[in-house]
């Protein structure tokens, strides 16, 4: 079966985002960019499904297609996924920062073209933190959804997914085709080896534009301003536990 994995180029996980002085957004000039960490986990799981690693039967997945929507440099993000083991890529070029609804509509158009049995994707991107695209894609495709996956098993036309919920874990079985969004503890993504990085350079990336898909991507939200959160100032160091308890009692915290 075929898996589609959407990936996003975002600010690197280890870089602290800084707000621009004119309050129009976060300063991304000369900042290290990487694949969204949740998307890396989705790519890794797709590759394990293809290779038959862990509890997956070999050949569960036969083709992994990676799609990204973003600036020209998002090709690098797709190359990273190809080096991890994905087969080919699609870049839908857009200089605009598209909203989740627009992204979901574009991905729907890609799904209709590629006809995957499974869309495997990160639960949220670490820039917008919306946690929305997977659920929205499932809705407009009229597919089932299994979000926040910490374990995935594919068998008998179903995705059996253990999900992280408040208070513990829930297991559901969704009929394929389905959208599965992945959480942190599903796996630890590999580093691509040098030979695989070289091999990835020969893999195909189809270059598309938003206009190719005839989808309405007009924004529904206007960002009025982006500001830094209030800064919490450091307090005092206390000598020992007894002084701490006395301070907390005075402050009414105990």
């Amino acid at each position: 079966m075929k898996v589609l994995v959407p990936v996003k180029r975002v600010i690197d996980y280890n870089v602290k985002a800084r707000v621009k002085a004119d309050q129009t957004g976060v300063d991304l000039a000369n900042v290290k960019m990487s694949m969204n960490p949740f998307d890396e986990i989705a790519v890794e799981e797709a590759v394990r499904l293809k290779d038959g690693k862990e509890h997956h039967a070999a050949g569960t997945v036969t083709e992994i297609v990676v799609v990204s929507i973003g600036v020209t440099q998002a090709q690098e993000t797709i190359r990273t996924a190809l080096a991890m083991g994905a087969d080919r890529g699609i870049l839908i070029q857009s200089d605009a920062d598209l909203e989740p609804l627009a992204v979901a509509k574009l991905l729907k158009a890609v799904v209709e073209e590629e006809k995957p049995d499974l869309v495997l994707m990160g639960k949220q991107s670490i820039d917008g933190d919306n946690n929305a695209v997977g659920q929205m894609l499932a809705a407009i495709l009229d597919w089932p959804q299994a979000t926040f996956a910490s374990k995935i098993q594919i068998a008998d036309g179903k995705a059996t997914v253990t999900r992280e919920i408040d208070g513990g874990l829930q297991t559901i079985a969704s009929q394929l085709p389905a959208v599965v969004t992945v959480d942190l503890r599903l796996n630890t993504p590999r580093y691509a080896s040098l030979p695989n990085i070289m091999k990835a350079k020969k893999k195909e990336i189809a270059m598309k534009t938003v206009a190719d898909y005839g989808v309405d991507v007009a924004p529904r939200l206007t960002v009025l301003k982006v500001t830094a959160p209030p800064v919490r100032s450091a307090g005092i160091k206390v000598a020992d536990a007894a002084e701490l308890v006395s301070k907390l009692k005075t402050a009414g915290a105990l």
Partner: protein, 308 residues
């Protein structure tokens, strides 16, 4: 304006995340509450007692009892026609079904709001809480999840009517099972005091040996850093941080936690923060009201003694 709030509950008890979402919703208009569940009459009764609530709708089915997204969507989408806004707390359940409902209605959802500026303008954290975005929605209907810790809980004393409506099931998803962590301690989201442990604990046995007695002495909930959870020292639902639970208790005691950005994003709105760490340069001390530099192995027993 008419606003629908989807209640958060455990099947029997209404969680106060619902009361907090009602506070946010009441800034937009008249509030009705929808309870989806199974055998959830007690929850509907509690929802009807929230001050200022107009009406409570109760929809029940086996799969609504497990909050399956497709089932919740099937109940909410037809109801949404009668409302200007639908709000739910940004819990794992709310995050699961709200974007699905929004897409069905062709609306851009607004996730995890921390402030209602006006009927169409909201503030929400982005970049793991390192920036706050003020967004204005042009959609006719608003679909919103609310960060509960950012709002006070609406009080009780209301006498809303309860109306039963048809339930629904998820067409192509089946519930298989669940493993819920059983605990007599308060839930992280509702606790007044949280004691949170980090990777310094070194093992699951040590984590529980250190954290559990202290939590019991203080009547506190136990939290953990992502590093401690990833290392297997604590269950996943203990995780406090941008990718885990966002908490804001009266007192947060961080033990052996260095204070990574993503952890701070999950607890920096706590009223009083205490840090115990042997590294005097740990970033956690930059947000702590009271810090003790030292090994938790010495400090925590002393703390137990000092608490008496």
């Amino acid at each position: 304006m008419a606003v629908l709030v989807i209640a958060d509950h455990d099947g029997t008890n209404l969680r106060d995340t619902t009361n907090k979402t009602v506070t946010a919703a009441s800034k937009l208009g008249d509030v009705d509450i929808l309870v989806v569940g199974q055998g959830a009459q007690a929850v509907a009764d509690a929802a009807a007692a929230i001050a200022g609530v107009r009406k409570v709708l109760l929809a029940e089915s086996a799969e609504l009892g497990k909050s399956l997204a497709e089932a919740v969507e099937a109940v909410v989408v037809p109801l949404a026609a009668g409302y200007d806004a639908v709000l739910a707390p940004a819990t794992m359940d709310g995050k699961n079904y709200m974007p699905r409902i929004a897409a069905r209605l062709d609306v851009a959802p607004i996730s995890d709001i921390i402030e209602v500026v006006s009927a169409d303008t909201f503030v929400r954290p982005i970049y793991a809480g390192n920036a706050l975005e003020t967004v204005q929605s042009s959609d006719g209907k608003k679909i919103i999840t609310v960060r509960p810790t950012a709002f006070d809980a609406a009080g009780t004393g209301g006498t809303a009517t309860i109306e039963t409506i048809a339930g629904a099931d998820a067409a192509r998803t089946d519930f298989i099972g669940e493993e819920l962590v059983k605990s007599d301690r308060p839930e992280l989201g509702a606790a007044k005091i949280i004691v949170s442990g980090g990777r310094a604990m070194g093992s699951a046995e040590e984590f529980h040996a250190v954290m559990d007695p202290l939590a019991d002495r203080l009547g506190a909930a136990v939290g953990a850093s992502r590093a401690a959870v990833d290392a297997g020292y604590a269950p996943n639902d203990y995780q406090v941080g941008q990718t885990g639970k966002v908490v804001a208790p009266g007192l947060y005691i961080a033990i052996g936690i260095s204070g990574a950005i993503q952890h701070l994003a999950g607890m920096k709105d706590s009223k009083i923060i205490v840090a115990i760490n042997k590294d005097a340069d740990a970033p956690i001390f930059q947000v702590a009201d009271y810090g003790i530099v030292g090994d938790y192995k010495t400090i925590v027993p002393e703390l137990m003694t000092a608490l008496g």
